[in-house]
Amino acid sequence: MYRLLNHRFLYLIPLLLSAILSLKAFRLKWPKPYRLYACMVILSLITEVLALAWKWELYKWGSFNFSQNNFWIYNCFLILRFGLLSVIFNLTLYRNKLLPLITGIIFLFGILDYAFIHGPFQFNTYSMILTHVCIITLCLLYFWQLLQEPGAISIQKEPLFWMAISIFFYHAVSLPFLIMLGFFNVQDYRLSALFFPINEALNFLLCSCYLISFLWKPQYSQPL
């Protein structure tokens, strides 16, 4: 337990709190996108706990002795999270036939990358870059939709807006690094190691935004 008392795990506090608060989306029967968002937050918490537990204890559970590498958990989570985000955005954005098709293809590619191309024990950079680009695009489409809507909502009180901000920040900032990750690995491992503090800060920002989002409730556009 004392191992958790490290600044690297600081993001777990807002994540845990947001997962608890997200339960109100089910209790108050918020619309489907918000409930899926709550599922995503809860899934994030479960993944983090499982990944840490695997790395520390679970890999040598019972008589088994698996690899300590927990990338298979994170890779799996990233595909699932992308799937959930795609559904959330497809439900929120104006109907577009192309959007579900593109996100569906990327989701399938993610599964292929996980199963065959990179495999579960390596960082699935191909699918990660693709999903990052797709998520950034979806966020920008969401922001564009907010600007185009005839009615106005108080966006600082809208949970989905906070979700979009958090994932936009996280993905947009980490994308250039992810693209260069292979190159850095070849050049010098210390350059790749720089990703950890950046990811740590972004993770904290992401989880804090999750927490803020669940302090509010869904806003409905006031028609003119």
Partner: protein, 273 residues
């Protein structure tokens, strides 16, 4: 080699910060734009409300003018005609055969009754008359008319020192009460009507209650569009015009109570002064 790693690390950190700054700028402008849009929308809503308020006021003014015109017509034209009928009957009466005299006398009496009804109706429709006698007296007249029908037992109670409010507010309040009383006559099947007036500096409260069949207020409001009934909506609009709170409580078989509260009424004068 060390310098190269350091320089690349620095480049990575700076570019990460730059991207972060760029994202912040995007979100900041989004916030700014949305805030502006939100404020603009609020202004439009306020303007629309003001416009609707003015429109309603003009509509009521036109309505008042029409009622005033009808009242004057009733008083000048119709009353005059009834008077002529009465004079004619008076002239016919001595020459009429004995067996028809009773009928003529009966017709004369009916004409007299018609005359007094016309006068009362004319007075109730006449805005100037209502302003002249005041809301309380006008309401009492209306209730007395109800009592005269002998279908209703009317009870009027007053508390506090009576005062008068702005004439235009009195007119609106009186029309609102007429609407309530009209509803009682049309739908309530009541036997008792109670009017309670409470005067204080802080608020003026008028309660009109009946012991009739009652109705489901929520249903009536929701179905007003289907039934093309605007009574309740009009009452609410009239109340909002004089900044009054209108509360209607009713249940099936349990009578209806209409509570009109004017907080901080603009008192013109005390009646006892």
């Amino acid at each position: 080699m060390e310098t190269s790693v350091f320089a690349t690390s620095l480049t990575i950190i700076i570019s990460t910060l730059l991207v972060l700054g760029l994202c912040t700028a995007v979100v900041y402008f989004l916030f700014l734009y949305q805030k502006k849009k939100f404020r603009h929308q609020q202004e439009i809503i306020e303007m629309r409300e003001t416009f609707n308020h003015v429109l309603l006021q003009s509509r009521l003014a036109i309505q008042e003018q029409t009622l005033d015109h009808i009242s004057k017509e009733l008083h000048a034209n119709f009353s005059h005609l009834v008077s002529l009928i009465n004079i004619n009957l008076q002239e016919i009466l001595p020459q009429a055969p004995a067996d028809q005299r009773e009928n003529i006398l009966e017709t004369k009496s009916l004409a007299k009754q018609l005359m007094s009804e016309l006068k009362a109706l004319s007075a109730n429709l006449n805005t100037d008359h209502i302003i002249h006698i005041g809301f309380i007296k006008a309401l009492e007249n209306e209730l007395n008319r109800l009592a005269k029908t002998k279908k209703y037992e009317v009870v009027i109670t007053k508390a506090g020192e009576e005062y008068r409010i702005l004439p235009e507010h009195e007119i609106i309040l009186f029309r609102l009460c007429q609407e309530v009383l009209n509803n009682i006559v049309k739908y309530a099947k009541a036997t008792e009507v109670t009017a309670s007036l409470s005067f204080s500096k802080e608020q003026f409260v008028l309660v009109l209650a009946d012991d009739g069949t009652g109705f489901n207020v929520q249903d009536a409001l929701e179905n007003s569009g289907e039934k093309q009934s605007t009574g309740l909506l009009n009452m609410n609009k009239r109340a909002s015009l004089i900044n009054a709170d209108l509360l209607i409580t009713s249940r099936n078989g349990g009578g209806t109570m209409v509570i009109i509260t004017i907080p901080q009424p603009q008192i013109l004068q005390s009646i006892n002064e």
